[in-house]
Symmetry: C2
Subunit: 276 residues, 2 copies
């Protein structure tokens, strides 16, 4: 009798369960070289996928945005997510859907241990830097990620956790893998929807703000304002982070007590279990 | 006795000769997902590599530009190019060097049949379209190629051979895989060096212009000028193309007789064999 399959043993490629070490792509394939690819990262908690429909909807938006035709339907992909959970007896995990386009289109569904962060990141907040550069298609999750890679590496070199991307107008739009928000005078400032990734988590952050009576202003924080200490509390949001306090940006420490961020974070986390 | 190895049988990965079908990368590897990668395409003619040192120098420039540390020296890579030519008894070929960075850095050297184009492309010229979008790091050849992929697909949909990328100022900078040039009043207009890829072929095109007494103006043709028929002859250059006449841009047909382009093309091709 073979051992019971567990998290990480398999990957699904175009509907077929294959061993994880066979989840490879040819170096010479044009779509691999050019990053003609879309993706989603999802949370699985107690065997349940969090906000699956939202992720599939965003995947569709990303594919449409770059005219990538997946080799299957979005319903298929959703079914494959469930298939992998069952096959590998997955409880908690971070799952990734990755779709390559072109004549040999491929869809991979992969699982890894649940991405989570130390409690002190939430208690003490994390450091971010600003980084100048503009995403090609901000509302789509694609393989065009070199800017994000370089920015995050620079943040790490400076002892930071995230880099906030600043455009040529000086607007601090979003993180390399997160959305970005900052409080001034009780109001929350964040980029307009059309300039950033429409986060599955971002939409819940905004809903939480409504519930908590926090006014949201859709105007990006300026880098110059961040450097001048204009904001007293800031945070980033992502599927893996919910809402994570940012207590230092470049050399500026933010004085806020993070209560509002943590209230938003708790609400977003609670909704993961109720599919709100 | 095993069959004699031939073009395409092998790939070199970090110095090791492996069967081509094993030239794969893990889908889940961050550097693959993010396109943290640089590359070069080279011509091999009669077993000789054309302008190898220039390509290695540009590869170094690309790696430095994105802080990618290859798993080997550039001399190693040059030696591997020769090793593959010998191992697979390569006469004419297009070779590709592809370097992935990160903790598991990898360098691949691959060969494919020599990329060439029908003679009528040179005789009659090709059609190009303009496409709006800006490259992240124009002087580096990296895996951040989604814009180029989308632009070229759009060109093909419109029956074109190349898309010329136009920035937000309306400047027609370069093709998706080529540099771009247009004649007006006997002068050749092309983008300033710092705004485009420093082509190995581009430098020879410029040298040919000097020899031929053609004045070069380093100012990008404007999209509005192209649409207004301001230029009477245009061409694109690349390793695989040398200098290829462009006789239609969007709906505008260029009246030029292409003699200047073909003179430049011949000179660039001749230098391939003398390593000039």
């Amino acid at each position: 009798m073979s051992a019971v399959a567990k998290l990480g043993d398999h990957v699904i490629k175009n509907g077929q369960l294959i061993p994880s070490d066979q989840a490879v792509v040819p170096v010479a394939l044009r779509e691999v070289q050019y990053g003609f690819q879309t993706y989603e990262s999802l949370r699985v908690l107690h065997g349940e996928v969090v906000h699956l429909e939202d992720h599939l909807e965003r995947l569709r938006h990303s594919c449409d945005g770059i005219k990538l035709v997946p080799p299957c339907s979005y319903e298929d992909i959703g079914a494959w997510v469930h298939l992998l959970i069952e096959s590998d007896h997955i409880g908690d995990a971070t799952m990734k859907i990755q779709v390559y386009g072109g004549p040999e289109a491929m869809c991979f569904v992969m699982a890894a241990p649940l991405l989570s962060y130390p409690e002190r990141y939430y208690r003490d907040g994390v450091k971010a830097i600003t980084y100048h550069g503009e995403r090609l298609l901000p509302t789509c999750k694609t393989g065009n990620l070199l800017l994000q890679y370089m920015a995050l590496e620079e943040a790490k070199r400076q002892g930071g956790f995230e880099a906030i991307l600043v455009d040529r107008k000086g607007d601090a739009l979003e993180g390399t893998r997160s959305n970005f928000y900052a409080f001034h005078d009780g109001k929350l400032f964040t980029a307009p929807d059309e300039e950033v990734l429409g986060g599955v988590t971002r939409s819940r952050v905004l809903k939480a703000c409504k519930k908590l009576g926090i006014e949201v202003v859709f105007r990006s924080p300026k880098e110059s304002e961040l450097d001048a200490g204009y904001y007293d509390e800031a945070f980033i949001s992502a599927t893996s982070m919910a809402a994570m306090p940012v207590t230092q940006i470049n050399k500026v420490h933010l004085p806020g007590n993070r209560k509002r961020t943590l209230a938003i974070c708790k609400m977003v986390r609670d909704w993961e279990l109720t599919d709100n």
